[in-house]
Amino acid sequence: MNIFIEYSLFIFFLPLAAFLINIFFGKRLPRQGDWVSIGAVLFTLALSIAMFAGMLFSYDPDFQVESSFTWINLGDFNIQLGFLVDNITITMLLVVALISSMSHIFSIKYMAGDPLYSRYYAYLSLFTFSMNGIVLSNNLMLLYMSWELVGLSSFLLIGFWFEKNSAASAGVKAFLTNRVGDIGFFIGIMLLFTAVGSVVYSDIFTSVADGNLTGTLLTMAGIGLFIGAMGKSSQFPLHIWLPDAMEGPTPVSALMHAATMVAAGVFMMVRMFPIMTPDALVFVAYIGGFTALFAATIAITQNDIKKVLAYSTVSQLGFMIMSVGTGAYVAAFFHLVTHAAFKANLFYGSGSVIHAMHHALHKKNDHETDPQDMRNMGGFKSRMPTTYRAMLVSTLAIAGVPFFSGFLSKDAILAGSLSFANHHPEHFLLPIFGFSAALLTAFYMFRLMYMTFHNEPQMPELIEEIHESPKEMTFPLVLLGGLSFFIFFTLPHFNPFSDQGWFTEIIRPRTSLVAGAPSAHAISEGIHQNHLPAMIISVLVGGFGIFLAWLMYLKQSISAAAMAGRFNTLYRLSLNKFYIDEIYSRFIYTPILKLADWVGYLDWDVYDKYVVDGFGRITEWFSNLTGKLDYDGLDQGIVDGAGRSAHWLGGVLRGLQTGQLQSYVLFALFGVILIVIFQTMV
């Protein structure tokens, strides 16, 4: 079989094997079995790199192989196990393998000493397996199954330290919010299946291209699929789980909630783009744009370092979704890849910082102070230089500073939104959302850097104990920091201001199969035309954001506290994430719980008590009645009565035996009379 399919099979099944080994035998293996998972994922990485090299070698934008076999045959419905390998797949596989390997390595030191160490690695392998399933799948059923598994892995890993109540409930929240999204996703899949008769991508695409599936139904299906993406990629209003997911270990946050799992939603949208109708895409774009701005406004006031990064992720995902909505879906994928690198790096960096804080506080026997609160940090630059430099590079990337990868991808997105607004002037809000979010992104990221690494230490007694992290933790930082530079994406070209490179050349957009949608060519033209204006504006807003942050947090000529005081209401809204969780709790959770209580009351106190017990009581009364009937009536009356009357009759008849002849004669005469009477009668 095709070499790519062969490698894909290995990539698919190796982490599964690692999971099974670790979950059953992990504890008994030496070093608790972490080498099993790490070995598996590194092997996967090697194979991905090989495939990637092969892709670069052939440099074919239309490369695609597909292979499947029937796994479950249900008559007129089969569940296929199928792989679709094309350039997008290979790129994504590389991203997943790379970040997953980094997380595996980072965790060696980060999770050292944890009592459930082997289980942690088992879950990481499970996640890798499921994520690969999403990437490799050629049909919606396998995609959905892997989707669910990814959600499960997320739940297991977020709530890994389940003894902590907040972690356990965060895991549940993540899973349930995902489930809500999955309802829409499943409805979308079912709509497509009913209309097409198959869940395989190629069949669906053919059907739409032939015009069998159009109009409102297709829009609904598209929106259904998108709702799944909303849940998985944490878009408003299903974004609530991602900030809470920070309860999990930081390598997990880096892997899942920065680079791969949350990107699955975007990935799925990228795959399904050809069947999205313009109406559905408008919906997608607005959700994405709004989320981007909304999350950014929350990020600017957060004090927990991981929370800032979490909201940042939500915001960046919003960017990607908006890009899909405006038609520039390859730009979305590009940003997905660059974001994976620099966001994961930022998370690793924060993990490194938190690790150092933990150690320092432990040494000082301080268990009260929050090691993740940036207000307790400051001045770490000199103590943790490698971490600082790696995070700086990634921050510059995310802020969209030229010469870094983020600039290219963000630029493409913003150009796409400008182009869309130009073609459809009524959607002018979208670029406004985009550029405002970009401004805020630059601001809050540099705020994070200044508060953590610059200025005077806020807790002077700690600073002595702050050390750089061990090499297992700094290695991923350096690697991914390096990948945040532009160069890796623009080869063989060297222009830092142009995204022209292997990426844009082998990953080409496909024309939408929906009738009436703009062709891929038209979209690309639009992006190119608006490229320059987008670049200029994004540099300007990015620079302004950095400047503002510098003013407030480094130079401190504008007091942050004073600003907070002046815009007190806005400040508090932002700090409390606009009270979304509280609103949901009051208007959704509580009424449903009340309903559940009421139904429970109905069943337990009313139905059980009256109907069920009632039956019991009626039966009891009835059996009492029959008992009385039987005992007093039947037994006493009839049975005993027969005895008594027999006794009486016997007594009477005994009297006949008098022993006297005369009586006998009398009886004989009586008999004679009777005989005579009967003879004459008859």
Partner: protein, 101 residues
């Protein structure tokens, strides 16, 4: 009134009275007397039928034999009664109730 039915009625009456005596009377001799009455009623019957049935003398002969029989029976009966009296000191038929067992 020389009618057959009259004689028959008389015989029936005597028979009933004799029967009554047999059933009712406590004394054994009284019972015997009742038996005699019965026998006599039978005799009257015989002779009545003999007369009103063509003067057939068979009836007479039979009645004669009845009288002979009555004599023999009375003798034996009285012998028994005397025996009874000697053994039980009483001829109350109620007390001769050993058939009860």
């Amino acid at each position: 009134m020389d009618q057959l039915q009259n004689y028959l009625f008389i015989a029936a009456a005597l028979f009933s009275l004799g029967l009554f005596a047999v059933i009712t009377r406590r004394n054994a001799v009284a019972v015997l007397m009742g038996v005699e009455l019965i026998l006599n009623s039978a005799n009257v019957n015989f002779l009545a039928f003999s007369r009103f049935g063509g003067m057939n003398f068979d009836g007479h002969v039979f009645a004669l034999f009845v009288i002979i029989m009555a004599a023999a029976e009375a003798a034996v009966a009285l012998a028994i009664i005397i025996n009874l009296y000697n053994n039980y000191q009483s001829i109350n038929v109620d007390e001769a109730s050993q058939l009860k067992r």
